[in-house]
């Protein structure tokens, strides 16, 4: 099980790219898909690298990202 997981709401994402620039582990990239408003949408290109640190979500201006952490992540020293 991954240590963390990001769930991006494609309809809230406006493709600003701030999450991609903020993620310290290179998890996120701009995808080639567009939402119904015509914005390109960010996605988790390398989800296995995610630690659930939530910096991307804290930087997202549209609250498009939810972050989950694996049970026991804190015990393993990832929290």
């Amino acid at each position: 099980m991954p240590r963390g997981k990001v769930v991006i709401d494609p309809e809230r994402c406006k493709g600003c790219g701030v999450c991609v620039a903020t993620c310290p582990f290179g998890v996120l990239e701009m995808s080639s898909t567009y939402n119904s408003s015509g914005y390109p949408v960010a996605g988790a290109a390398h989800p296995e690298q995610c630690t659930g640190c939530a910096l991307c979500a804290q930087a997202c201006p549209d609250i498009a990202i939810e972050v989950y952490r694996g049970v026991g992540a804190r015990e393993r020293g990832d929290g």
């Binding site: 997981k5 309809e11 493709g15 790219g17 701030v18 914005y39 990202i65 939810e66």
Partner: protein, 251 residues
């Protein structure tokens, strides 16, 4: 079974915000500031008694996004409206949310005198150095030399003045309890700004008095920069004109 069912949610939309999407442009710090305020209202447990006073400007629809009471003030008059709310019912937590065109231009008088009287309100001042909603005109906070639609050759201090440093101006008064300038251009500064917003609201809850949090924000559309580049511009240039940090903390 989806993977997330066995995981713990560590970041979600604040309960104090509605489900409505922001009308802000991609990358705009207004949305981020709204989220930080929502998270802080949740954390302090003050949703039931918070009133958000919305300005004129891009944040004019603030009452659409906060799941608490709200009122929309005439241009620049948010501090006066907030004063009335707070004096009529001191149990309220009154939050005045204003941009630079609203607070630092048309509303300068209300802003300065509410601060000078030490009204027990919290003012969130979004300084993005431009009039965003009306099409990127020069604001009092526009940097020297910065091109805008109403100063296409760049702001010329000889005829247009220098950028107005509101936090310093308010910090010169005796009454304010807490005056700080923060930014949101990277994760570290988002954390610091969140702590400052929490302190400003906590001081009001503890009935200590007036506080102002100036947030040096971006306007990617008005500045004609991609959002990530706009954030880099804040770090490299804007914070040189508007230095970050606490100016007054009498708590």
């Amino acid at each position: 079974m989806p993977e997330t069912e066995t995981m713990t949610k560590v970041f979600a939309r604040p309960r104090s915000l509605t489900e409505k999407r922001f009308t802000y442009c991609p990358g705009c710090h207004h949305g981020l500031i709204t989220r930080i305020l929502g998270s802080t209202i949740d954390k302090l447990g003050i949703q039931e008694r918070t009133v958000v006073v919305a300005p004129v400007g891009c944040a004019v629809f603030a009452y659409e996004w906060f799941r608490c009471d709200g009122i929309q003030a005439a241009h620049g008059r948010a501090a006066a409206v907030a004063t009335g709310l707070k004096r009529a019912n001191p149990e309220l937590v009154v939050l005045s949310y204003q941009g630079d065109g609203d607070l630092a231009a048309i509303g300068t008088a209300e802003t300065v005198h509410a601060a000078n009287r030490g009204e027990a309100i919290t003012v969130i001042f979004v300084n993005n150095q431009i009039y965003g909603m009306t099409g990127g005109q020069m604001a009092p906070t526009t940097l020297d030399g910065q091109p805008t639609t109403s100063s296409p050759q760049g702001r010329d201090p000889a005829t247009m003045g220098h950028p107005l440093r509101v936090a310093e101006m308010i910090a010169a008064l005796e009454a304010p309890m807490y005056v700080t300038r923060q930014s949101l251009y990277d994760a570290k500064h988002i954390t610091q700004a969140t702590k400052a917003v929490e302190k400003a609201l906590r001081y009001q809850v503890e009935r200590r008095g007036y506080s102002l949090v100036e947030i040096v924000a971006n306007c990617p559309t008005g500045w004609k920069m991609p959002p990530v580049k706009a954030n880099e511009h804040i770090a490299a240039t804007v914070t040189g004109v508007f230095p970050l940090g606490d100016l007054v903390d009498r708590g």
